[in-house]
Every structure is written in C-alpha cells, then in structure tokens.
C-alpha cells in the first residue's frame, strides 16, 4: 500500500525530474526496511512533490524549449516573443492571495443568511398533555399546536412569512388560515391549540 502511494507521488513529479530520478527513488524505497522508515520516505516524497512544483520551475520545460517546430518558410509555427518568467516570490504571493480570496468567498457562502424580521412566527409542536390528543378514529393525523408570537418590529414582508410558516401556497388561503387562529386583540404571546385535521379543513 505504501509502495503504491510512493509510486503515485513519484508519478506526479515534473516529467524531467521523474524521468531522471523516479527509478532510483523507488529503488531506495525498496531497500528500506520497516514500516516507519517507509512512511518517512512517503512523507519525503510528498514534500519533494510540493518543492518541485513550487520552487523548481526553471527545470520544468527545458526539453520543450529544445524542439521548436518549423512551419512555412522556415518560420516556427509557435513562437514566444517574451521569455519572461515570474519571480518565485511573485508566484508565492499570488498563491497566498488566491487562497485568501477563495477562503473568504467560501466562508461568506457558508455563513451567509437572509436575516428577515418575522411578524408572526408560527411553529408546530406535539402536545405535551393528553387533552390535545385526537380521537382514536383519526390514527394517521397527529395533532399540532400553533404558537403565535407577535413581533415588536415592523416587517417589510409579513405576508410572505405567514405563507411559508402555515404551509399554504396562496396569500388568500393563508389569510383565512391565520384569521381563524390569531385573536385580533392579541398583543403578547398567545397559544392556539387545534388538531391538524381542523387546520386543513380551513384551507380552500
């Protein structure tokens, strides 16, 4: 298993390094005895992989630079006018900045929510006492309790919230649904307990 991982790590080295030294590195791995030593070599291979791709860019493309394909009239088909290579520090800085930017975006996506102020917040709970139990003739419907908490702040979207909480899909149905349960004079928390079957009957 460790040998397989080691081969895999060697395979991902830059081509020039791999062609030149991978066989010898594998030969050393085969001569090492002990699982701990093999694990150490595996860690060394991964560090080498990182080093070769981040700090040894000058050795990547030497072979490609030798063969320039000739096109029409002796001119090369593809020719690079500028031999500019960015500095290592610039590449490193760019990598760090990219990492920070990506992390910020993912963090914002993970923690971003729409914090709306709800006017009535209705949730359903199972009844705690036996008085709210449904008759035995309706075994498939569990009774629910609607808890209505009036909000102290004005909300720009009270109706939308009511639709979501009550489970209806039209504003008219929701208005009827809420009208049967919320007393108009209620200014503080009020609890209305009804079986779920009755609530469904109110809906058009």
């Amino acid at each position: 298993m460790l040998r397989l991982l080691y081969c895999w790590a060697l395979r991902f080295h830059p081509a020039r390094f791999r062609e030149r030294f991978a066989e010898e590195m594998l030969s050393i791995f085969d001569h090492i005895e002990g699982r701990a030593a093999a694990a150490g070599l595996l860690a060394d291979a991964f560090i080498s992989l990182l080093r070769q791709w981040t700090m040894r860019s000058e050795y990547w493309e030497e072979k490609a630079a030798v063969s320039v394909p000739a096109g029409v009239g002796g001119l090369p088909v593809f020719y690079t006018l500028e031999n500019f290579k960015p500095r290592k520090s610039a590449l490193l800085g760019g990598a760090v900045l990219t990492w920070i930017a990506c992390s910020s975006v993912f963090l914002a996506l993970g923690h971003g929510r729409i914090h709306s102020v709800y006017l009535p917040s209705v949730s359903f709970e199972s009844p705690a006492n036996s008085e709210d139990q449904l008759p035995a003739s309706t075994p498939n419907l569990s009774p629910t309790r609607a808890i209505v908490r009036p909000c102290t702040q004005a909300s720009p979207r009270p109706r939308t919230q009511a639709i979501i909480e009550s489970g209806t899909n039209t504003p008219e149905a929701d208005r009827v649904w809420l009208g049967r349960r919320i007393p108009p004079e209620a200014n503080s928390s009020a609890e209305v307990s009804e079986p779920q079957e009755q609530a469904i009957e109110c809906l058009p």
């Binding site: 066989e23 010898e24 050393i28 060394d44 992989l49 080093r51």
Partner: protein, 117 residues
C-alpha cells in the same frame, strides 16, 4: 575561478554532505544517503526527495557528473555519481570558509583571562 566559486558559498547542509560523500568515492543515491548519515554521526538524515533535488541542481552546476549504471551492481536501477574538479574546488572553498568560522568561534568561546590591575 576561485571568485566564481565563492558565489556558491555558503553551501546548504545537504549540498555539503553530498559533496563530502562523493569526495571519497563514486556512489549511488542510497550510498550517498548512508554516507551522509555516517558523517554526521546519525544527526543528519537525507531523504531521497532532498537528495535528488540537490543532485539535479549540482549536475546543472557541473559540480557532479552522472556516470550511469554499473554492471557489477545488484540493482540495475542505481546510477552512480562522481565529484568533478569544479565540485572539488567548491567543496575546498566551503571547508576553508568553515575553518575560518570554527577558528573565530573558538576564539570567542575561550574563557576570559583575568585582567591585571
């Protein structure tokens, strides 16, 4: 020549141990690792990744020459390396620099002589 070589100084510990290992005999990669461990009395363990990264660099700088495989070796995958005269020169320059460092260090660490009143 000497000024050109001094631009490579100071050598990293890995480079120093590799050049020092090859100063005695031609060796393959695993042999260099073993020799570096012996020279440092077990204190410096050279991994294959670090070894071949440095070998690549030293071959480019013409401090080391690759000899290829040896027929008498039991593992045909091993390749041998030899220190060039240029490599020997840079190793000598580094050792001279280190001698100066050691001399200076010994002077500084000598117990202070009591001053006469």
């Amino acid at each position: 020549m000497k000024d050109a070589l001094s631009s490579f100084l100071p050598l990293s510990p890995a480079t120093l141990h590799i050049l020092l290992s090859l100063a005695g005999d031609d060796l393959h990669g695993y042999g260099i690792m073993q020799e570096a461990l012996r020279q440092s009395q077990g204190l410096y363990k050279l991994g294959p990744g670090t070894l071949y990264d440095n070998l690549q660099k030293l071959i480019e700088q013409r401090f080391i020459q690759e000899l290829g495989h040896r027929a008498d070796d039991d593992d045909p995958r091993r390749r041998y390396y030899r220190l060039t005269s240029r490599g020997r020169g840079v190793l000598a320059a580094e050792l001279a620099r280190l001698e100066g460092v050691v001399r200076e260090g010994k002077l500084r660490l000598q117990p202070a002589r009591p001053r006469r009143a």
